[in-house]
Symmetry: C2
Subunit: 393 residues, 2 copies
């Protein structure tokens, strides 16, 4: 397969935009990506559009991509609507990558867009439950509660086994709030303290409000092309997709000792890219709840089990660290419009790798980076979808 | 890219199955396809799952494929949930094709599943409206009405310009009801007469009830592999995918003289497969409303404009004709569970090409066939998605 490069990215700010429909969120991202890449709609051979919740939240159940793209000049081409819960945008990216890598097209567009603020947060939370296996909600469980209950992410067991404290759980939120404060596109641009996070109201013990990502609207897009064609469109540094891995979670019976799918998907991506965890110079990862970042450190091979908080204490993953994690602010500060998040991660990494990240620019500029995106929940299973993308320049 | 073959297909019967959830519809199709192909779940490298309406109709908004496949042994692998309204299953097929053609995997599964009977047909019709651009429904339009109003399928203009009559509109329904009567998996297995079709109640003048496809539940699946690997799994004739084309509709201003997207997608498929319309020996096409079959005859290059009814009068497209169309019974008789239809078409063609179609077997066995699937509706546009697959043995 051919080498594939990202040559343009664009995003809408993430936040609460009650009056903006899907199209209005998507267009700035799409036009931004096209302009950044130096391509016109006529250059695009295929479009993948990721969205998770529009059926239940906006009523637009079908052909969401065609509706979003209708007046963009992007019609006639193949449009593939993809969904994988909070990993929908990364799934769109993978589709676009495969189209270009296979030679089916030379230039592809990946879009992720989500409208979550619809004036009734109970409706939004209900829709989020519907990206789980519905038997779960029949049992009275919710997505957030599952983070406390699910055995693989059981925070209580980390407290018992490794002595983690509420302050440890808060550390990623505090670190990422600093990064978000430097990101003009972030939903939350306020620097938090450990005390503020720990003392905010409890959502599900031991998770507090400021450890959780918010209900967000947003959109992001990327233009991909065959790496050898990049100079035809832009003089900017093409960012290579070294690997792009998608896995679904594994269904587990009690006692199943196979590694978590967050681990297997990351290590599959390392292997395909020919890199090790130690090679990474920046990571955007799926901190839907702040403590998840600590456990992902372990699963991505950045540290041994139980050592997550140390990576923040020792400033390994801070913006000035050896491998900054969530320089954008991550899901908790940058925001988590679920069907857009995977491409918002890609936007951040591309900006960082090009040296275009403004006051939150990682120095020196990173050359090997990773986006880790996951989503959905099934009873007795890891998350439903895991998507890992490794970028190099 | 590599040559790709379909080595196994399976389907659930199409009809009204009030008590069966998505999983129960999908499993017989999936197990049927795997068994037919001689593969096990461990052989499958990726799964594409097409569905259009589950978010609004069953509440399962996200990770539908993971939910359907959870207890099938098919997890851990990449699962991509795709949607393109009534062309969702063909979009799943195209995804699976690209995975194998590109060399990303050796064996892929494509699934289409739809549960439309939820005990409240108004809810189902509402959900169908939501696979249109929603501005349409705000104008009081519905999917069915659009078939009468949309300028490209304006039946009234065919009556005026070519003298088509209500009896002409009924002809595909009558022809296909005969085929459906021979198909034990069809929703409607009753032979209709012109009089019965014309005199059934008017839905939208000039469309009558028996000219319309019904609300259907159903599922279909196909296993694809690299053509050179087919003998490793099965001794049955591998059915080659000669081309697999997806296009979105073109947004049109009044006076736009470009050919309809049904035409451009079909001719793109002919070109990629190196065949002509005259080479086709069987076709499954998208007769969501019976008269659409007549207009598709024109658009697929089977006859000149206005000549559609003649192809049935002269028994060109009947089961004993030169190029039988909708041998399964088509959408009106076989049934139209929207997100499954594209793969139900593929099942029928594979069975016909292998000589496994029982009493409706086309004689001699066809060697070059086409599936034409389309879906969704946007204001000022052709259908939202067109998918055309040409098969050869």
């Amino acid at each position: 397969m051919r080498a594939v490069a990202i040559i343009g990215v664009g995003s809408h700010p993430t936040g609460r935009f009650h009056d903006r429909p899907l199209k209005a969120l998507a267009y700035p991202a799409i036009w931004g990506a096209l302009e950044d890449a130096g391509v016109t709609p006529a250059d695009i051979g295929v479009a993948y559009v990721g969205n998770s919740l529009a059926g239940l939240l906006t009523g637009q159940e079908g052909v969401r991509g065609q509706v979003v793209l209708q007046h963009s000049g992007l019609n006639g081409l193949p449009i593939v609507n993809v969904e994988n819960a909070c990993a929908s945008a990364a799934t769109a990216l993978r589709g676009a990558w495969l189209e270009v890598a296979s030679g089916a097209v030379d230039v592809a567009l990946a879009v992720g867009v989500e409208k979550m603020n619809v004036g009734d947060s109970a409706r939004t939370i209900g829709a989020l439950s519907a990206v789980s296996e519905l038997d779960l909600s029949e049992m009275g469980m919710q997505f957030t509660a599952s983070y406390a209950i699910h055995p693989k992410v059981n925070l209580k067991s980390r407290m018992r086994d490794y002595g983690w404290t509420a302050a440890d759980f808060a550390k990623p939120a505090v670190k990422n709030s600093f990064n978000g404060s430097l990101n003009p596109l972030a939903q939350h641009q306020r620097r938090l303290t450990i005390e503020e996070v720990v003392q905010s109201r409890i959502v599900v013990d031991p998770l507090t409000l400021l450890m959780c990502s918010s209900i967000s609207d947003g959109a992001a897009a990327a233009v991909l092309c065959a790496a050898e064609l990049a100079p035809r469109f832009t003089s900017k540094t093409p960012i290579r997709i070294a690997s792009c891995v998608l896995q679904s979670g594994v269904y587990r019976l009690p006692g199943d000792a196979r590694p978590d799918s967050a681990t297997t998907s990351a290590f599959a991506a390392y292997e395909k890219a020919g890199v090790s965890p130690e090679d990474l110079q920046a990571i955007e990862l799926h901190d839907a709840m702040a403590p998840a970042e600590l456990m992902l450190y372990e699963r991505l091979g950045l540290c041994a089990e139980g050592e997550g908080p140390r990576l923040i204490d020792e400033r390994v993953t801070t913006l000035d660290g050896r491998v900054p994690v969530n320089p954008s602010g991550g899901l908790c500060s940058r925001g988590h419009p679920v069907g857009a998040t995977g491409l918002l991660q890609i936007c951040e990494l591309v900006w960082q790798m090009r040296g275009e990240a403004g006051t939150r620019q990682i120095v020196p500029r990173p050359h090997v980076t990773m986006a880790q995106n996951q989503g959905g929940l099934l009873l007795g299973q890891d998350s439903a979808a895991y998507a890992v993308t490794i970028l190099t320049d």
